[in-house]
C-alpha cells in the first residue's frame, strides 16, 4: 500500500481558503484520473464548521490501486501519512492546533520520507526553516513565490493560486500529476491561457530546497493523553475553567497570521483594546497598561482598528516572531530596545488588509 497510495494534505486557513483548498484538491483528483490513476478527495470532518483563521486540512488521495481499495484505505478521519503537504499560508508553518486536546501539531507531522512540502510564501526557505520542526529523514521544501491568497465564503478571489500550486506539484511530484494532464485540465476552463501560463511559470520558477534529517526546529510533539471512560466524569460533564485562568486545553495561538504589537510608550490606557477583544487576550498590568497573552491571540486585528492612537497597535506578520513572550515584560525590561524592535517589525511585517478580501476592497 505504502507506495501505491499517495496522499496530498492541504493545510489552510479556515474559511479564508476553504474554497481554494477544495478546488485544489478537486483539480488533483481530475488530473490524476485523466492520467489513469484512481483518485478521490475529502475534507477533514472535524474541521467543519470551519472558523475564520483556524487551521484546517483537506486531502486528496491518488493511487495505482483499484478505486474501491482506494476508498477502503481512505475511509479515515485523517490518513496516516502525506506525500505532499501544501501549505497555503506560510504562518501555518509555526504549527497547527485545530481544536482542543490536540496540542500544537507540527506542520509536517504527516510528511513521510521522500515527501515534499510546498508553501506559498514571499520568504526564503532559510527564513521559514527555523520554525519548521525537524524530521528524522530527508525531505524537500518547495516555495511558490506568492502571498497567501485569502477570500471569503461568498466572493472568491480567482488569483491563479490554484494554478501555481498545481504547477508546483507537477514539478516535484510528477508521479501524482504531470504537466501534460495539468495543461489539458486547464484548457477546459475559462481564461485558459492565463491559467496555463501561471502554472508553467510556477513549474519553472519553483524554489526547491533539500532538507536533511535533523534540520529545522527541535520540537517534540506529544499529543495530550485522553482520559479513559472510567476516568471521565459521567454525562459529558467537564470542570469549568478556574476563575482567573484561561482554557488550558485549547490555546489556539496558531490561528493567527498576524500579531498585534503595542507601542506602550504612546499608549493612553483608554482600555478600548481590552474591551473590544473577542478573545479576552488583554491583561491589565499593575500600572494600567494592557499586556497581550499571545498564546491565545487569534490575530483578528480589532484592537489595531479600535486603538485611537495612530500606530500604537499595529498588526505584523506572525512569522517574524519565535515565541509567545509577553510584550509588556519585554518593554519593561528594555524600553529602548523594544522601541527599535517594533519599529523594525512595522517596516518589515505590515500586510495590507481590505474590507472584503475576496473582492479586494
Amino acid at each position: 500500500m505504502q507506495n501505491e497510495v499517495k496522499y496530498i494534505e492541504i493545510v489552510y486557513r479556515g474559511i479564508f481558503q476553504k474554497r481554494l483548498a477544495k478546488y485544489i484538491a478537486e483539480g488533483i483528483v481530475y488530473m490524476a484520473r485523466a492520467s489513469g490513476k484512481s483518485a478521490l478527495s475529502f475534507g477533514r470532518y472535524g474541521d467543519s464548521p470551519e472558523r475564520n483563521g483556524v487551521p484546517a486540512k483537506y486531502y486528496a488521495a491518488v493511487g495505482e490501486v483499484n478505486e474501491e481499495d482506494l476508498i477502503g484505505y481512505s475511509t479515515r478521519v485523517e490518513p496516516d501519512y502525506a506525500d505532499v503537504v501544501i501549505v497555503l499560508d506560510d504562518t501555518l508553518v509555526k504549527g497547527v492546533e485545530s481544536w482542543a486536546w490536540q496540542g500544537v501539531q507540527p506542520i509536517n507531522l504527516k510528511l513521510r520520507e521522500g515527501g515534499v512540502m510546498i508553501v506559498t510564501s514571499q520568504k526564503r526557505a532559510e527564513e521559514l526553516l527555523p520554525e519548521i520542526p525537524s524530521k528524522e529523514f530527508n525531505w524537500r521544501l518547495a516555495i511558490i513565490r506568492s502571498p497567501a491568497s485569502f477570500s471569503g465564503l461568498w466572493a472568491f478571489k480567482d488569483d491563479m493560486t490554484m494554478e501555481k500550486v498545481w504547477g508546483a506539484i507537477a514539478k516535484v511530484r510528477p508521479d501524482i500529476i504531470n504537466l501534460e494532464a495539468l495543461e489539458s485540465y486547464l484548457k477546459r476552463k475559462d481564461k485558459a491561457q492565463e491559467r496555463i501560463r501561471n502554472a508553467k511559470i510556477s513549474y519553472e520558477e519553483l524554489i526547491v530546497r533539500e532538507i536533511r534529517a535533523g534540520e529545522g526546529r527541535n520540537y517534540k510533539y506529544t499529543p495530550p493523553r485522553l482520559p479513559t471512560w472510567q476516568e471521565m466524569l459521567e454525562g459529558a460533564v467537564i470542570p469549568a475553567v478556574p476563575f482567573g485562568k484561561r482554557n488550558e486545553q485549547f490555546k489556539r495561538g496558531t490561528t493567527k497570521s498576524e500579531r498585534p504589537i503595542v507601542d506602550f510608550d504612546i499608549c493612553i490606557k483608554c482600555r478600548l483594546c481590552w474591551i473590544y477583544c473577542p478573545d479576552e487576550v488583554f491583561d491589565e498590568t499593575p500600572d494600567g497598561y494592557y499586556d497581550i497573552a499571545y498564546e491565545y491571540c487569534v490575530g483578528c486585528g480589532i484592537c489595531a482598528e479600535v486603538c485611537p492612537v495612530k500606530d500604537c497597535i499595529v498588526m505584523v506578520d506572525e512569522n517574524l516572531f519565535k515565541e509567545y513572550e509577553s510584550p509588556y515584560n519585554l518593554w519593561k525590561k528594555d524600553k529602548q530596545k523594544y522601541k527599535e524592535w517594533i519599529k523594525e517589525l512595522k517596516e518589515r511585517g505590515k500586510k495590507e488588509r481590505v474590507f472584503v478580501p475576496g473582492l479586494g476592497r
Binding site: I15, G46, S48, P49, E50, R51, N52, G53, V54, W99, A100, W101, G152, L153, W154, A155, A236, I238, A240, V241, P242, F243, K245, R246, N247, E248, Q249, F250, K251, R252, T255, K256, C270, R271, L272, I275, Y276, C277, P278, D279, E280, E284, A293, Y296, V298, G299, C300, G301, I302, A304, E305, V306, M315, R353, V354, F355, V356, P357, G358, L359
Partner: protein
C-alpha cells in the same frame, strides 16, 4: 418588589464608564470562534455583566459548538447545553427549579442569575414558541438572542433573521435569480414587548457599544421576571469581511438605522444613542450602502437592490409611529387628550 425598589436596583447596577467596567472574566480565552467573532464578544460581555452567581444555558449553535470544540469549555460559571429549540423551556426549567428548591429549603436562598442564550434559529425560528411561553411566566431569567443573521454554525444558511437579499448557502445568486432571500428580517423584541405583558425589560444591543450592552444585561438581571435581549453580532465568516472591521460594521449597522438601539423598561420605550439622535433628527442616518458595500454577502447587489433596502430603512424612521421599532404607521382614532 415595588417600583421604587426596582428602579433603585437597576440604577445601582449601571456601570458609568469603560474604566469602571469590572476586569473579571467569566467567559475566557480559548474558544474556537472565528477571528473577529462579535457573538463571542457578546458572550464575554454577558458573562462579565452577570458575574459569578450565574447559571448559563446555551442552545445549540455557534456559541455552543465553537466554544466547546471538542470536549472543552471557555466558561468559568456553570454552563449547560440545551437543544436548538429548547432555550425557552431551559430558562423555565432552570428558574423554576431554583425557585422551588430555595422555597423548600433544599438549597440556600440567594439571587442566582439564569441566562439562556440562543441564536437565530433557537430564538426566532425553531425556538420561538418556547421563548414566548417562557415570557408568559414570572420566573427570573434573561434570554439573549445572539443574532449573526444566519444559521452560522451549519456553515451559514438563511434564517428569518437574515437580511433581505443576503447570500447564504440557501440563497446564493444564480443565473436565473439574483435575490433568493426575499423575506425581510423579523423584529423579535417588538414581538416580545407587544405580546407579553409581564415582561419588564427588553432591549436591543450590539457589541460595538460595550457599555450600553453590558448595562443592558445588568439591568435585565436586576429587574426581575422574564427579560429578553436581542443582540446584533457582525459575523466575519457569514457576512464575508476582514475580521478587523467587526467593530466598525457594528457601528455602521446602528448609524445607518438598520439596527436601532432601544430598551423597553417600565412600559416606556427608551431610545439609546446614537439611535436616539437619529429619531430626534439630531443625527443624519448614514446611507445603507456604506454598510452593504463592506460585506461580501451583498456583493451581488445592484442599484435597484440598494435603493429598495434604503427605502425599507427610510420607512422605519419616516413613517412609523414608533420609529425603528413597530411597523404601525397610524391608527384610525384620535385619542382625546384628557
Amino acid at each position: 418588589m415595588s417600583e421604587i425598589e426596582r428602579n433603585e436596583r437597576v440604577y445601582k447596577a449601571i456601570i458609568k464608564t469603560i474604566k469602571d467596567t469590572p476586569l473579571a472574566e467569566y467567559y475566557t480565552s480559548g474558544h474556537r470562534t472565528c477571528q473577529g467573532c462579535e457573538s463571542a464578544l457578546l458572550m464575554r460581555y454577558m458573562a462579565k455583566a452577570a458575574g459569578p452567581r450565574t447559571i448559563v444555558v446555551g442552545a445549540t449553535g455557534c456559541m455552543y459548538v465553537a466554544n466547546t470544540t471538542y470536549m472543552t469549555t471557555s466558561w468559568v460559571v456553570p454552563w449547560v447545553h440545551t437543544q436548538l429549540g429548547g432555550s425557552g423551556a431551559a430558562a423555565l426549567g432552570t428558574a423554576a427549579a431554583l425557585r422551588a428548591l430555595m422555597r423548600k429549603g433544599k438549597i440556600k436562598e440567594e439571587p442566582i442569575n439564569v441566562v439562556v442564550f440562543c441564536g437565530d434559529l433557537g430564538c426566532a425560528d425553531m425556538g420561538l414558541s418556547g421563548v414566548s411561553n417562557a415570557m408568559t411566566y414570572d420566573y427570573n431569567f434573561l434570554i439573549i438572542l445572539y443574532d449573526n443573521e444566519s444559521s452560522a454554525n451549519t456553515d451559514i444558511q438563511e434564517t428569518s433573521m437574515t437580511p433581505y437579499g443576503a447570500q447564504t448557502s440557501f440563497s446564493r445568486p444564480g443565473k436565473q435569480k439574483r435575490i433568493m432571500k426575499r423575506r425581510w428580517k423579523k423584529s423579535v423584541v417588538p414581538m416580545i414587548i407587544a405580546g407579553h405583558r409581564n415582561v419588564k425589560y427588553a432591549a436591543t444591543l450590539t457589541p460595538a457599544y460595550p457599555l450600553d450592552g453590558i448595562n443592558k444585561v445588568r439591568k435585565a438581571l436586576s429587574v426581575g421576571g422574564p427579560t429578553f435581549i436581542h443582540s446584533l453580532d457582525p459575523c466575519p465568516k457569514g457576512w464575508d469581511y476582514d475580521p478587523m472591521y467587526s467593530h466598525k460594521l457594528g457601528q455602521l449597522a446602528v448609524e445607518t438605522g438598520i439596527w436601532p438601539l432601544y430598551e423597553y423598561y417600565n412600559g416606556e420605550i427608551i431610545y439609546n444613542e446614537p439611535t436616539k439622535g437619529i429619531v430626534e433628527g439630531r443625527i443624519k442616518r448614514k446611507p445603507v450602502n456604506e454598510y452593504l458595500e463592506k460585506q461580501g454577502r451583498f456583493s451581488h447587489f445592484t442599484e435597484e437592490d440598494i435603493e429598495y433596502f434604503q427605502k425599507m430603512v427610510d420607512e422605519m424612521y419616516e413613517k412609523w409611529e414608533i420609529p425603528g421599532i413597530m411597523p404601525i404607521k397610524s391608527i384610525n382614532v384620535k385619542i382625546k387628550e384628557s
